[in-house]
C-alpha cells in the first residue's frame, strides 16, 4: 500500500509537469488550429536558455561574484559546521545559487518568448489558412531545425543546472512504508499546477483570453468583431514559449540539459490527444493519469516499459473516443 502511494505521488508530480508542457500545445492549438509537434524542442530551448543564464554566463570571467555564488557573511556563518547533505545545508546551498536561478529563469522566459515570436512570424503566419497537413509538417520540419540549431549553439553535451528550489529530502512513514520525496520535485509540481491554473483562468477571464477563445471559435468572425487575429496568434505562441521555458528549466534540473529533452514533446503530444486537444481539463486529467501510470509501470516493469505508456494509452483512448476524453467532436460539412 505504502509503495503504491510512493509511486502514485511520484507519478502525480511528473504528471503535473506533463500538464505544464501540454498547456503550451493546447494554447497554440486553441488559437491557431496548429498542433505543434516541435513543442518539445521549444522546451529544450527553454532548458538551454536557463542553462545559459544560470551556468554559462556566471562561468564567464566578467561575471560579478554575487551572480556566481551569493555568499553574504551570515550565510557563510550559518554554513559553517553543518554536516554534508543536511536539510538546512540544502536550503543554504540553494540560497547561494538563488541569484543564478532567478536570472536564469528570467533570461529563459525572455529568450524563449523571442524564439516563439520568431517561429510565429516567420513560419506560422505565412501559412495561415493552409491545410492542416502543411502546418503540422512545418512544425515537424522545425524539429530538425531546432534540434540541429541547439547542437550548433550549445553542443550536444549533457549538462547540469542548479535546481529551482532547495533539494531537501522529505521523508515520512505511511502504512509502515518509508516514503521518500525530493523537496525540489514537490516545489516543481506546485509551480506547474499553479501556472496551469493561472493560464486556464487567464484564458477564461481576461480580455486577451476571451480573444483567444473567440478566435478558436471562428477566425473570420473574430476578425470582423475587431479582434486582431495575428496578435492572438502571437500571444498564443508567446504563452506556449513562456510555459515551455519554465517546463524546460524544471526538466533540466531533473534530467540535465541535453537535446533528448525534445523527446518529451512527443509523449506529451500523445497525452494532449488523449485528453482532447481543446480541453484544458481533459489534458490536465490525462497528464496526471499518464504520470501515475508511468510511475506504476516504472515500479512494476522497469524503466524501459515506462517510455511507451503514453503511446499505448493514447491509442486505446483514440480507438474508443476518437477526439480524446474531453475533446469536442469536429463537425464537418460536406
Amino acid at each position: 500500500m505504502g509503495q503504491i502511494l510512493q509511486f502514485g505521488i511520484n507519478g502525480l508530480m511528473s504528471g503535473a509537469i506533463y500538464a505544464l508542457i501540454a498547456v503550451g500545445i493546447v494554447s497554440v492549438f486553441k488559437a491557431t488550429k496548429v498542433v505543434n509537434f516541435a513543442h518539445g524542442y521549444l522546451i529544450m530551448f527553454g532548458a538551454y536558455f536557463y542553462f545559459t543564464f544560470a551556468v554559462l554566463l556566471p562561468g564567464m570571467s566578467w561575471a560579478p561574484a554575487w551572480y556566481v555564488s551569493w555568499e553574504p557573511a551570515w550565510l557563510v556563518e550559518m554554513k559553517e559546521g553543518l554536516p554534508m547533505f543536511s536539510p538546512l545545508g540544502a536550503v543554504l546551498d540553494w540560497l547561494t545559487n538563488l541569484p543564478r536561478v532567478i536570472i536564469g529563469l528570467i533570461g529563459a522566459l525572455a529568450a524563449n518568448a523571442v524564439v516563439g515570436l520568431i517561429i510565429e512570424r516567420v513560419l506560422m503566419r505565412p501559412l495561415m489558412g493552409q491545410s492542416v497537413f502543411a502546418m503540422i509538417m512545418v512544425t515537424v520540419g522545425l524539429i530538425s531545425v531546432m534540434s540541429g540549431g541547439a547542437q550548433l549553439i550549445w553542443t550536444a553535451d549533457a549538462n547540469y543546472v542548479p535546481s529551482l528550489a532547495p533539494n531537501t529530502p522529505i521523508r515520512f512513514t505511511l502504512f509502515d512504508t518509508q516514503i521518500f520525496l525530493f523537496g525540489t520535485d514537490l516545489v516543481n509540481a506546485v509551480i506547474a499546477v499553479l501556472l496551469f491554473g493561472a493560464i486556464v483562468a487567464m484564458v477564461q477571464f481576461t480580455k486577451g483570453g476571451v480573444a483567444i477563445r473567440a478566435t478558436a471559435e471562428d477566425q473570420s468572425t473574430a476578425y470582423s468583431m475587431g479582434i486582431s487575429v495575428p496578435r492572438v496568434f502571437a500571444r498564443a505562441w508567446v504563452l506556449a514559449s513562456l510555459t515551455g521555458a519554465i517546463a524546460g528549466a524544471i526538466l533540466a534540473t531533473r534530467n540535465g540539459v541535453s537535446p533528448s529533452l525534445g523527446l518529451f514533446g512527443f509523449s506529451v503530444l500523445a497525452i494532449v490527444l488523449m485528453g482532447g486537444l481543446d480541453s484544458y481539463v481533459g489534458v490536465f486529467i490525462a497528464a496526471l493519469v499518464v504520470g501515475v501510470l508511468e510511475a506504476m509501470t516504472q515500479w512494476k516493469f522497469g524503466g524501459d516499459w515506462a517510455g511507451i505508456v503514453p503511446y499505448v494509452a493514447v491509442l486505446l483512448v483514440i480507438l474508443v473516443r476518437p477526439h480524446g476524453l474531453f475533446g469536442q467532436k469536429e463537425v464537418e460539412r460536406i
Partner: protein
C-alpha cells in the same frame, strides 16, 4: 521536348557512372589510412571532441617515429553522432574511397556489432573501438575486432570481487537501457551469486534524461550497500549519486571504465558539491597524470603542452583519449609487426599479428607487461575519486582476470 531534358538527365547519370570508375591503382602506397568514427555530436560529444585531437596527435607521433614500415599514416576522423548506422555508413564510405585503409576505430558497441558480419574478405579491416563489450573479444568468430582492455564483464568481476573483499552482502545494478548498459548484467548476476552477494535491485534507466527521483527512490527502498553503475558516459550517473546523497543514502557507488572520467567528476564537484567523494571504479589504464613509469605518457604530455596549449588537453588527457590512443597503439603494433615481416598489410595478416602480441610493454598504459588473450587485455585496477585532490587515486594493485 520531354525527351531532351530526360535524355540530358540520363547522360548526366551515365557520365557520373563513368567518372566514378573504380581506380585501379595498387602500387607501393604513398600513405596508410587510419579512419575513425567519433561522436563529435550527440550525447557523447564531449568525449568525441576531446578524442579527435588525440587522434591527430597519434598521427603526428606515429609519423615522427617512422609510420608503418616507413610509410606515413593519415588519420581520418568522421562524425557518427553516436548513431551506429551512421558510423557504419562512415566505414563503408571509407572502405569505398580509401584504397589503403589499414585500421578503423569505431565508437560504439552498437557499431561494432553492426559491422562485425560485414568484416569478410576485402571488406575486413583491423578494428578497435571505444567499446569493452564482451562479444567483441571473440577471435574465433571475428578475428579483426579487439578490445583494448578488460571487457565489461571482467570489470564487473573486479568490482564484485572488491565488494566481497570488503565484506559487502548486497548490491544494486543500475544501468542504461542500451546494449552498452546491458552487456555485463547476466554475467554480473552469476558472479554475484558465486561470491554470495545478493543483487537486490536491477534498474534500467534512459541513457540520457533519466527520471532520477524514481530511480533513486527505488534504490533507497532496495537498501543496497553497494551500487554498480553501468552504461553511462557524461550524464545520469553523477545525478543518480547526487540524488542518493541528498536523500541521505549511504550506498557506495561504483562504475566501469566510461564512468571514470576526471573531467566529469570535477565538473560535478564544482557544480553540485563534493558528493562524489569515495566513488570507486575500474580503470584498465593509468590516468594521464600518473607519468612516472609511463614513458609513452611523457611523450604525449610533451606533445600536448606544445600543440594543445590553452585547451583542456594542455595538461591532461581524458581517459576517453587514453583509451582511443591505447587501442590505436595496439593496432599499430600489430601492423608494424606485419610490415617488419615484409608482408602486405591485409586485415588477416594484422589479425594474426594482433593475436600474437604477448608480454608487450605498452609504454605505461598498463602497469605490467600485457598480453592479448582472445582479443582482449584482461588487466585493470580499482581507483577511487577524491574530491579534495580532484584525482582518481589507485586503491588496488594491477589485477588480472
Amino acid at each position: 521536348m520531354k525527351l531532351n531534358r530526360r535524355s540530358f538527365l540520363a547522360t548526366g547519370a551515365a557520365a557520373t557512372g563513368v567518372i566514378g570508375l573504380p581506380a585501379i591503382v595498387k602500387a607501393q602506397p604513398k600513405e596508410y589510412v587510419v579512419a575513425q568514427s567519433l561522436p563529435m555530436t550527440g550525447p557523447f560529444a564531449t568525449a568525441g571532441q576531446l578524442v579527435s585531437p588525440a587522434s591527430k596527435m597519434f598521427e603526428a607521433i606515429t609519423n615522427a617515429e617512422g609510420g608503418i614500415g616507413g610509410v606515413p599514416i593519415r588519420v581520418e576522423v568522421e562524425d557518427s553522432g553516436y548513431v551506429p548506422q551512421r558510423a557504419l555508413a562512415n566505414y563503408q564510405r571509407a572502405l569505398a574511397t580509401e584504397d589503403n585503409l589499414v585500421m578503423y576505430f569505431g565508437d560504439s558497441t552498437g557499431f561494432m556489432k553492426l559491422v562485425a558480419p560485414e568484416l569478410k574478405g576485402k571488406n575486413a579491416t583491423l578494428m578497435g573501438s571505444t567499446s569493452f563489450a564482451t562479444e567483441l573479444a571473440n577471435p574465433e568468430k571475428n578475428p579483426y575486432q579487439y578490445v583494448a582492455g578488460p571487457t565489461y564483464e571482467d570489470q564487473f568481476d573486479i568490482l564484485l570481487q572488491n565488494i566481497a573483499n570488503e565484506g559487502g552482502s548486497t548490491v544494486a545494478f543500475i544501468y542504461s537501457n542500451t546494449e552498452f548498459g546491458r552487456d555485463p548484467l547476466a554475467h554480473g548476476r552469476q558472479k554475484a551469486e558465486e561470491l554470495g552477494i545478493e543483487v537486490v535491485l536491477e534498474e534500467s534507466t534512459k541513457a540520457e534524461g533519466a527520471d532520477i527521483p524514481t530511480h533513486v527512490t527505488k534504490l533507497a527502498q532496495s537498501n543496497a550497500e553497494y551500487c554498480i553503475l553501468q552504461g553511462y558516459v557524461t550524464g545520469v550517473w553523477p545525478q543518480l549519486i547526487g540524488g542518493a546523497r541528498q536523500l541521505g543514502l549511504q550506498t557506495k557507488f561504483m562504475g566501469t571504465f566510461w564512468g571514470m572520467e576526471k573531467l566529469i567528476a570535477d565538473r560535478v564537484t564544482a557544480e553540485a558539491g563534493p558528493f562524489l567523494e569515495g566513488y570507486l571504479g575500474v580503470m584498465p589504464y593509468r590516468y594521464s597524470y600518473d607519468q612516472e613509469d609511463a614513458p609513452r605518457y611523457r611523450t604525449y604530455a610533451a606533445f600536448q603542452k606544445e600543440h594543445f596549449a590553452g585547451t583542456p588537453l594542455e595538461n591532461y588527457m581524458p581517459t576517453w583519449g587514453i583509451e582511443a590512443l591505447c587501442s590505436m597503439e595496439i593496432g599499430l603494433e600489430a601492423l608494424r609487426r606485419v610490415a617488419n615481416k615484409g608482408l602486405e598489410l591485409t586485415a588477416d595478416n594484422a589479425a594474426e599479428e594482433l593475436a600474437g602480441i604477448q608480454d608487450w610493454d605498452s609504454g605505461g598504459f598498463f602497469g605490467p607487461n600485457v598480453s592479448m588473450v582472445s582479443n582482449k587485455i584482461g588487466t585493470g585496477r580499482v581507483y577511487q575519486y577524491s574530491t579534495e585532490s580532484g584525482l582518481f587515486e589507485p586503491r588496488s594493485d594491477w589485477l588480472s582476470v
